[in-house]
């Protein structure tokens, strides 16, 4: 049987849908005997939900330089070019 450390690593990997079939089988075998990791898995789903909300918020935000920052950058570049 795999350890709790290995099981939770697979559990995390499966949150991104990247656990292999063999890993999923090992994980389910572990869950059968370990209620702590079952609880971890349950809470992990909620954490993923939180991260997804954060991901959506972040993607809506576009990072740009201000005009002043661009001008400052242009001055610095000019110094190097000269």
């Amino acid at each position: 049987m795999i350890s709790c450390d290995e099981a939770t690593l697979i559990c995390d990997k499966s949150q991104y849908k990247e656990a292999t079939l063999a890993e999923k089988l090992k994980l389910n075998g572990h869950f059968f005997q370990c209620k702590i990791c079952r609880l971890y898995s349950n809470q992990n789903n909620r954490m993923t939900f939180l991260f997804q909300i954060k991901a959506i918020n972040c993607k809506q935000h576009k990072n740009c330089l201000s005009q002043a920052e661009k001008e400052k950058l242009a001055i610095e570049l000019k110094k190097v070019k000269v």
Binding site: D5, N44, L77
Partner: protein, 210 residues
Amino acid sequence: MGNMKVTKRKKITVHLILLKLKMPQEKIILNPDKWIDKYADYLFNYAVVRVNDSDLAKDLVQETFFAGLKSAKNFQGKAAERTWLVAILKRKVIDHYRKINSKKGQAEVRMNFYNDGEHEGSWIEERVPQSWDNDSEKKLENEELKTQLDMCIDNLPEKYAMVFRMKTIQEFETEEICKELDITASNLWVIIHRARTQLRKCMEDNWFNT
């Protein structure tokens, strides 16, 4: 008859592709005077989603332009100007990752599992997940939650936070992160695992069970 037409069309397509391959490609010439207007925002956004620090991202963009000017004579004109600048910036991001990866004395993630002895791989007692309050479902919709989550992510060691953000928040492919940061997939998963177990504990202590 129909088949002959299709074959002929295929032959013409193949011929055109071959002709295009034989034709000399137009050489791209660098135009540093236009770099800021054309690429500064793109490069800044590229950097900031990776390092999550706008001051550092600005420095990286500036260094990229400097390096671009310095090595302009080596530009062969085969890649687009932006692609070439992004390649330089990628190196800067890797250098940054290596720097934070080798920092001594930086905050480490707290271990959640025994790493030796007869309990190796088992939960350390005080780190065992606790049941969350019954109203934790409601708490998932609270606005203050975002601030708390940001605080927990900011408490991660920098390299863990960087990999975690790229994989989970920016939703980059595993392969892409490994390539960009020059790490193996198993290394990435260990980092993600440690980051997530620490985040779970942080949210449990500061949000779900308060």
